[in-house]
């Protein structure tokens, strides 16, 4: 796969000295695999990006899912709601930033959050909250864009959906 660009999807969105590392899907997959308490956060672009089925595959590997915005509707349409919960994104991240939070399942906060189907600029904002105020969390972005506030992120691939989906398959392959 060609080297992916480390250019913020919104060109002006250059947050500061600490910018997300463009990371190969297999490495991101391994990070997720290693996580003790991972949470997949699916945003309202999950259908637009064509990544709903991949999110479900990840869910089926036992990773709980928070569906934000109207993403829950996409899961309901697909008939997959086993480990999917609706969450208001900013509310969820507000809780995530508190190490004492009990989690969506009452079993404690998470250690790794993975963003998919994101509304770019909104998720960029909450990733900044995590980067700056939640040192207990690792934030990974597997969106078709470079997310500068994530710790590790895909590069820009929004124009090539097939390649993007293949990258998601690589991630899933590691789980």
């Amino acid at each position: 796969m060609a080297e992916l660009k480390m250019a913020p999807f919104n060109a002006g969105n250059v947050p500061g000295p600490k910018m997300g590392r463009v990371t190969a899907p297999a490495v991101i997959g391994k990070m997720i695999k290693r996580a003790k308490r991972p949470l997949l956060i699916c945003g309202s672009n999950i259908e637009k990006h064509g990544s709903i089925d991949k999110a479900i595959e990840i869910g089926k590997k036992g990773i709980p899912i928070a569906a934000t915005g109207n993403a829950i509707v996409a899961f309901r349409k697909k008939g997959y709601t086993d480990n999917v919960k609706y969450a208001l994104l900013t509310d969820l991240v507000n809780c995530l930033c508190d190490p004492e939070w009990k989690g969506l399942d009452g079993k404690g906060n998470y250690d790794t959050v993975i963003f998919i189907g994101s509304l770019y600029y909104l998720v960029s904002g909450v990733l900044s909250s995590i980067k700056n105020f939640a040192p207990h969390l690792k934030a990974l972005a597997i969106d078709p864009y470079y997310q500068p506030n994530a710790e590790m992120t895909f590069g820009d691939i929004w124009k090539k959906q097939d390649d993007y989906l293949a990258m998601l398959d690589e991630v899933i392959g590691e789980l």
Partner: protein, 798 residues
């Protein structure tokens, strides 16, 4: 020697003569005692801090930094990543609070600057302020609720309001001082100051709107006429004067000039943003052509023969954009002069000649009385010249540009909406303009894309052309009721009880700008959804304009479908952004008229009342400006929550509660001081929603209050659950938090919900009596008197 005092005096031996001495060397005439003075008249920074701390404890700020560095002083640039401190010692967290305060200060200054400017204009156009009484007629006795509440003043003339404005201006300066490098280091204290700023913003808006209403005799009350709205209503058979901004006196002069010279059949006046709303209150002939998102589109479509701008929310590149379509510009406000010459005092015909000949692209006219003649004459002459050109792209050029697009995506990287222009261009090249036309509404008209396109494609022009080809612009013709200003005291008397008891489920107030995530249709959806469910929907600003050209299946706008009454299912045009003070006012009047609370200088008690009792929620789905930041802060401090659209994450701060933290949701019972758990109501104070499907049920949820009666709670819960099912396809996860007893359950779903409470929450149900026996954490007591303020406890519990 006799010492004179301020006051009213009779003169012996002279019948019917009284002397009024208003002020002697700074000693003011004592104000008539109209109510007991509350604890905080004209509060300064520390005075309401105790109330802010109550709010900030339950709704602490959640920060999403947009930038991890700071360069406000020359010790920077400081890297604050990971909440480090800068060279001055400030943390990233406190920097966010500082930034929010700065944004609120800009917003408040805009509204207060507007008020001050208005006073100058009124003095020159209408005479001394103390000769202009404040009189809304028999239906409004509480003429200025925010002024009474915050300043403790019952104003009689505009001069009284000018005095209050002095208090506001002084306090803005004090707050501005706190922004200096060093000093304040607490994010929470910055937020308390932002609340103070928001409160000043609210009273400043009230002053501004009352002043313009009184001086220019804006009409008030319901049943206002329906007026034209939308780009398609501009009549290019006439010469078009297009007014933009937020300060209407120049536009009123244009209206006068047109009327005085019988030019109605020759001149069409349209506008965008608040100037159009306020000018339309002066004269219903002014068309509400566009909100902020359409500003550049109207200009680039070449619809304006003369553009008149005043202040705020006006494009900073207006002059160069207007030049592209040969529209001369008149700048009428000193905040916005674009290096043009000030021409007040010159012969109007000479100014017109210079503009029409193109000798100058624009002029500055700071006296509103000089604007009408120049604008109208210029537009009439320009019409003949400009109509020779077609400002729309030709079919061939449209095709040529579409074909030249290499689908490189450079524009998309610049676009705040992330719009895939290339994809739509491809379709257009194949002969189908519909994708571009659809994007026309999602595009906020910012023009960033055009600057970077390597093929130099005029993307805005492509959108406009596509929107014409598909009939979108021609059909953008709607109706909006003329603004009605304040809510009548009589209306408050009628709705006070149903609102507080909850049988009218709430007030939903769409306000603010046009930076929507997904186009203007969402505005219509919000208004329609809540009005049809019996909520009261008062609106102001651009969101109101954008609601006005969307229609139902019968071709009716929400303004045609619903009455402009402050009652169940009413849809109201309250006015421009400064008029949204009347929405605060309605809440304050409920506390005053319905609940008989003293409002004079009594801010915290009234905010506490509103927070615990009055189901109201603002929505600024396209909030963009710093004014929206100060407006939201003002609503929040008064106890009114607001939902904002996803772009608002860039304001950096929200105020969110944590329903999982039980300890946050205790209040006092004012009867005896007992601490009572009331559940997460309202759950958040300022919250970003991601999509409209999420926003709508969330607003319904945020209308729940601690004091809801069972009948009211059951209605509110019905809407919350229904709206979740409608927009998110199922029950919300948290509805059980709001159930205090079986009486709170929606009637139609009672059995099903009891079942869920038993199976999912483990509550005990007596199925014979259909009663909840055990489970709810919140109890309902009809005489419960909730308050968050310790001092309001009447008798302490032993």
């Amino acid at each position: 020697m006799v010492k004179l005092k301020a006051g009213i005096f009779d003169i012996e031996d002279l019948e019917n003569v009284q002397i009024e001495i208003k002020e002697i060397m700074g000693e003011k005439m004592p104000e008539e005692e109209w109510a007991l003075m509350g604890p905080t008249p004209k509060p300064k920074i520390p005075d309401l801090r105790y109330w802010d701390r109550i709010l900030l404890k339950r709704y602490p700020p959640f920060y999403a930094p947009q930038c991890d560095t700071c360069i406000l002083c020359t010790m920077g640039k400081c890297d604050l990543t990971g909440n480090k401190n800068g060279a001055c010692g400030i943390s990233l967290e406190a920097t966010q609070g500082r930034f929010v305060l700065l944004a609120c200060m800009i917003g408040t200054s805009a509204h207060i600057g507007h008020g001050r400017h208005m006073f100058h204009d009124i003095k020159s156009m209408r005479g001394p302020l103390d000769k202009i009484p404040i009189d809304f007629g028999s239906e409004v006795n509480i003429e200025a609720p925010l002024t009474r509440l915050i300043a403790g003043v019952k104003p009689k003339t505009l001069a009284d309001l000018e005095n209050v404005l002095n208090y506001v201006e002084e306090n803005i300066v004090q707050l501005g001082d706190s922004l200096h490098t060093g000093q304040e280091g607490s994010a929470l204290d910055f937020e308390s100051k932002a609340y103070q700023m928001g409160m000043l913003d609210s009273i400043g808006k009230e002053i501004s709107d009352i002043s313009q209403m009184m001086a220019f005799k804006f009409p008030i009350g319901p049943n206002r006429p329906l007026c034209d709205a939308g780009m398609g209503t501009l009549d290019t058979n006439k010469a078009v004067v297009f007014v933009i901004g937020h300060n209407a006196p120049p536009a009123t002069d244009i209206c006068d000039y047109v009327s005085d010279n019988n030019l109605d059949d020759k001149i069409d006046i349209g506008g965008s943003c608040c100037t159009s709303l306020d000018a339309n209150r002066y004269s219903a002939k002014v068309k509400l052509a566009a909100g902020l998102g359409r500003q550049l589109k109207v200009i680039r479509a070449g619809l304006a023969d003369c553009i008149v701008v005043d202040e705020q929310c006006v494009r900073a590149d207006l002059l160069s954009q207007a030049k592209k379509v040969q529209s001369p510009v008149i700048f009428t406000n000193d905040k916005n002069m674009h290096n043009m010459e000030i021409r007040d005092g010159d012969d109007p015909d000479k100014i017109v000649e210079d503009l029409v000949s193109g000798k100058v692209p624009g002029v500055v006219l700071l006296d509103p009385r000089n604007v009408g003649e120049v604008a109208v004459k210029t537009a009439m002459k320009m019409k003949d010249i400009r109509r020779k050109n077609n400002w729309l792209l030709s079919d061939e050029n449209f095709k040529k540009y579409a074909e030249s697009c290499t689908n490189c995506g450079t524009c998309t990287y610049q676009c705040p909406q992330g719009i895939d222009v290339g994809k739509a261009n491809k379709k257009a090249a194949e002969g189908d303009p519909s994708a571009l036309s659809d994007q026309f509404d999602i595009c906020i008209g910012c023009g960033r894309c055009e600057q970077v396109c390597p093929q130099n494609i005029p993307i805005i022009d492509m959108y406009t052309k596509a929107a014409y080809m598909t009939g979108r612009i021609q059909n953008e013709k709607g109706k909006i009721r003329q603004a009605r200003g304040p809510i009548f005291d009589t209306e408050i008397r009628n709705v006070g009880a149903p609102l507080v008891l909850g049988t009218i489920p709430g007030i939903i107030a769409p306000i603010g700008c046009g930076n929507y995530p997904n186009g203007t249709r969402d505005v219509y959806t919000i208004v329609k959804e809540f009005a049809s469910r019996g909520y009261i929907v008062p609106m102001t600003g651009c969101m109101l304009i954008d609601a006005g050209f969307q229609k139902n299946e019968e071709g009716k706008t929400v303004f045609e479908e619903y009455d402009d009454v402050f009652d169940k299912g009413g849809v109201l045009n309250i006015g421009s952004c400064v008029a949204n003070a009347h929405i605060h006012d309605a809440a304050i009047k409920v506390a005053n008229i319905f609940a008989q609370r003293n409002i004079r200088g009594n801010y915290a008690e009234i905010a506490d009342y509103i927070l615990n009792r009055l189901g109201a929620c603002g929505v600024a789905w396209g909030a963009m400006s710093q004014k929206a930041a100060s407006i939201a802060a003002g609503f929040n401090r008064l106890g009114v929550p607001a939902v904002v659209g996803p772009h608002s994450i860039k304001y950096r701060r929200s105020f969110m509660g944590r329903k999982d933290k039980e300890e946050d949701w205790y209040v006092y019972d004012a009867r005896n001081g007992e601490r009572v758990y009331v559940g997460p109501v309202p759950e958040h104070l300022l919250v970003v929603a991601e999509t409209i499907e999420e926003c709508i049920p969330l607003m319904a949820k945020l209308c729940m209050r601690a004091a809801d009666t069972p009948a009211g709670r059951s209605i509110k819960l019905t809407h919350y659950i229904d709206l979740n099912q409608k927009y998110l396809g199922g029950y919300p996860d948290d509805w059980h938090y709001f159930v205090r007893s079986e009486a709170d359950l929606p009637m139609a779903k009672k059995a099903e919900l009891l079942q869920i409470l038993e199976s999912d929450q483990g509550w005990k149900i007596d199925w014979k009596l259909k009663k909840i026996v055990e489970g709810p954490k919140v109890r309902y007591d009809p005489s419960f008197d909730p308050t968050n303020i310790k001092d309001l406890i009447r008798a302490k519990k032993e």
